[in-house]
């Protein structure tokens, strides 16, 4: 599904290389986790995959089902099925959460040549999904993420993911700032979407989230490269011994 080859990324405005030859392959139906120390380039990877400005790919490729992602605008990637749950979801004053969700869903449908979702159909779906994530009517009415707590913002990201039903879900530290209950809600939301046709890339700092979202593969990202790949036991190793041991071992 998602295939990244020898990806080199630098900042556009600065002579700073962040990703330095990253290789990664996420198969449909699988959950891959990426762990790594702060500043290792995890968010950069997620932004480059979703098309944010400010980064320059100097080498390598990233494709989704064979389509070159790096050539596409963010909205085109989204329509193809790329979804990023932001580490820091953005507040948009003046745009209602519902309007935002409906515009997003229908924009993607339009881009794919599908029929737009009717108002009734949309409302029914959003209510059901919101309920599962314990998102109340008030949160749906309020402007996007404005005045939301950290946990509410993250749940709102998962709601968007549930509504958009993307092929490739990238979650950037969705667990940070969540208490145990909220973490459970988020994990349940993700697990509900697990499907043979869908791939997940779960970026996290801690093993905690991975107790709830069981990964198939765990990668360690350090200094812009995947330095070690293993099974779920790798996450436990990080939890117990930190990154120092692993980094020393691969150095």
């Amino acid at each position: 599904m998602l295939e990244i080859k020898n990806l080199h990324v630098k900042l556009e405005d600065e002579d700073k290389q962040i990703l330095k030859g990253l290789d990664l392959k996420v198969e449909a139906g699988k959950v891959h986790a990426i762990m790594g120390p702060n500043g290792s380039g995890k968010s950069t990877l997620s932004y480059v995959l979703s098309g944010r400005d400010g980064y320059e790919v100097t080498e390598g490729s990233a494709t989704l089902d064979g389509e070159d992602l790096l050539e596409l605008d963010p909205e085109e990637r989204a329509a193809l099925g790329v979804f990023l749950a932001f580490q820091y979801p953005v507040e948009i004053p003046g745009v209602g959460n519902m309007t935002f969700l409906r515009t997003a869903v229908n924009s993607q449908r339009k881009a794919r040549g599908e029929e737009e979702m009717s108002a009734a159909e949309f409302l029914k779906m959003v209510r059901a999904k919101a309920k599962e994530l314990k998102i109340d009517a008030d949160m749906l009415k309020r402007p996007v993420n404005v005045g939301f707590s950290g946990g509410e913002k993250k749940r709102n990201e998962i709601l968007q993911m549930a509504m958009l039903e993307p092929k490739m879900c990238i979650l950037d530290e969705t667990d940070s700032g969540l208490d145990v209950d909220a973490m459970k809600l988020v994990a349940d939301g993700v697990n509900a979407l697990r499907d043979e046709g869908r791939g997940f890339l779960v970026i996290t700092h801690y093993q905690r989230l991975l107790d709830h979202i069981k990964p198939d593969v765990v990668h360690i990202l350090a200094n812009g490269r995947i330095v070690k790949t293993g099974g779920p036991e790798l996450a436990l190793e990080v939890e117990n011994n930190g990154y120092a041991g692993i980094l020393a071992e691969v150095a």
């Binding site: 979703s50 098309g51 944010r52 400005d53 605008d73 963010p74 909205e75 990637r77 989204a78 329509a79 979804f83 990023l84 932001f86 979801p89 953005v90 507040e91 948009i92 004053p93 003046g94 745009v95 309007t99 935002f100 515009t103 997003a104 869903v105 924009s107 993607q108 881009a111 402007p143 996007v144 968007q160 958009l164």
Partner: protein, 426 residues
């Protein structure tokens, strides 16, 4: 030639091109207004109050041509049941207007108030305008009082079942219209007045508004879309105890617009909200000049002005809150913001507070900004194309001003117009 002479010559040239309606019960008021104009002189480029807006085309003896905007779109406010009072190039058109009788309100032409002996209107005509000349001169308003060709007196004594819609049709590309309306809202009465249309190639409009204790007036106007039209408008409002006056103005297009609002809160617990949203593209200059005086206890005033500017458009805001001695518990709020969609556009703002009471809350802010790139990326990452995402953020920017429109259906109608304007420019 000395500056004063230049001004006098220009004023004389303009006055010579006009005819003062003679006779009738307003003659004294008109003559007094004329002498005010002669004393003040028409605005010139060097006047401090006209620092950001060039008045020459508004004061010139000759009107500049303005092509009549052709559109297949439904007229503004067409979806609402309303009483239409139609003016074509500044002249009342009884054929195009609805029957003016409606329970709770009496509407008469200014030309008829003498014959019908309508005291309140005679007593109001030119009075608030004259009061409003202090401490800042507004010569174009005095010119209006002196020379107004037409206009209506609206007396609101109850709660009319539908809004009154003043429709200003522009049909002659060289038209030069001067309209003067007087409005009195009696105690306990409430009305919505809608205004729309460009009115003329050059439009000078003055509205004097007297809201008695507990009266309520909602004013929503949409200035016409003709690109080359010019307008100088004034509203002078006097508010009694516990009265409410809310005004919202939508401006799309127009080469030059100067909208002045002069509001006096004279009774305790009165509320005045003055808001505006404008969107301009290219040859567009829009000036909101507001002066709010708090002269009673526990009054609230809000000024909310938002401007979206692109392709070299200019926005101006001059807003003042004056809190007089003894006007304790005043709650004054003023915000003026612009969203510049490119580097060629500009926003000039002069917010002012002058406070002579100690127990007041007054806040003001003015900002100029561009589209929030973070928000734009967030929307695009969810699949919303750049154009639509930009429009969504632009409408969000304007929302605080549009929210000042009390009636949600009218507000929705305004948002729809803004959406249309934005999407045509994607």
């Amino acid at each position: 030639m000395a500056l004063a002479d230049v001004k006098q010559t220009a004023t004389e040239a303009r006055l010579a091109a006009l005819t003062l309606p003679e006779g009738g019960c307003l003659e004294t008021a008109r003559h007094a207004a004329l002498s005010r104009v002669q004393t003040m002189g028409l605005p010139g480029r060097r006047d401090e109050y006209w620092k950001y807006t060039r008045p020459d085309t508004l004061t010139a003896a000759e009107v500049s041509k303005a092509t009549v905007f052709a559109t297949d779109e439904e007229p503004m406010f067409n979806e609402f049941d309303r009483l239409r009072v139609v003016f074509v190039d500044g002249v009342f058109d009884p054929e195009a207007s609805d029957d003016l009788s409606l329970e709770g309100v009496t509407i008469d032409r200014i030309a008829d108030i003498c014959g019908k002996d309508i005291h309140w209107a005679k007593d109001l005509y030119g009075v608030l305008e004259a009061r409003g000349q202090n401490p800042v001169e507004r010569p174009l308003a005095a010119l209006n009082t002196a020379f107004a060709q037409d206009g209506v007196a609206i007396h609101v004594t109850g709660k009319p079942s539908k809004p009154i819609n003043l429709v200003y049709v522009h049909s002659d590309e060289m038209s030069d219209a001067i309209l003067h309306h007087v409005i009195r809202v009696e105690s306990g009465a409430e009305v919505t007045i809608l205004e729309n249309g460009p009115a003329a190639s050059r439009f000078n409009k003055c509205m004097e508004i007297d809201v008695a204790d507990t009266g309520k007036l909602h004013l929503v106007r949409a200035q016409g879309r003709d690109h080359e039209r010019r307008a100088a408008t004034h509203m002078f409002a006097r508010l009694g105890t516990e009265s409410v006056f809310k005004s919202f103005t939508l401006t799309v297009n127009g080469v030059l617009t100067r909208n002045e609002a002069v509001i006096e809160l004279l009774g305790d617990d009165a509320i005045a909200h003055i808001a505006g949203a404008c969107v301009g593209d290219g040859d567009f200059h829009h000036d909101d000049t507001v002066f709010i005086t708090h002269d009673a206890v526990n009054c609230e005033s809000r000024q909310v002005f938002k401007k979206v500017l692109r392709n070299g458009a200019t926005g101006v805001f001059q807003g003042k809150i004056l809190v007089k001695e003894g006007a304790q518990k005043t709650d004054g709020y003023q915000i003026s913001q612009s969203l510049l969609l490119d580097d060629d556009s500009q926003f000039l703002a002069k917010p002012e507070l002058e406070i002579y009471a100690d127990d007041v809350i007054c806040s003001h802010g003015s900002t100029t900004g561009a589209i929030d790139e973070e928000a734009l990326f967030y929307l695009r990452s969810r699949g919303v194309p750049t154009g639509e995402a930009t429009d969504l953020l632009t409408l969000a920017f304007l929302a605080e001003a549009v929210d000042e429109v009390e009636d949600p259906e009218i507000a929705a109608s305004i948002v729809a117009r803004l959406e249309g304007w934005l999407s045509r420019r994607r």
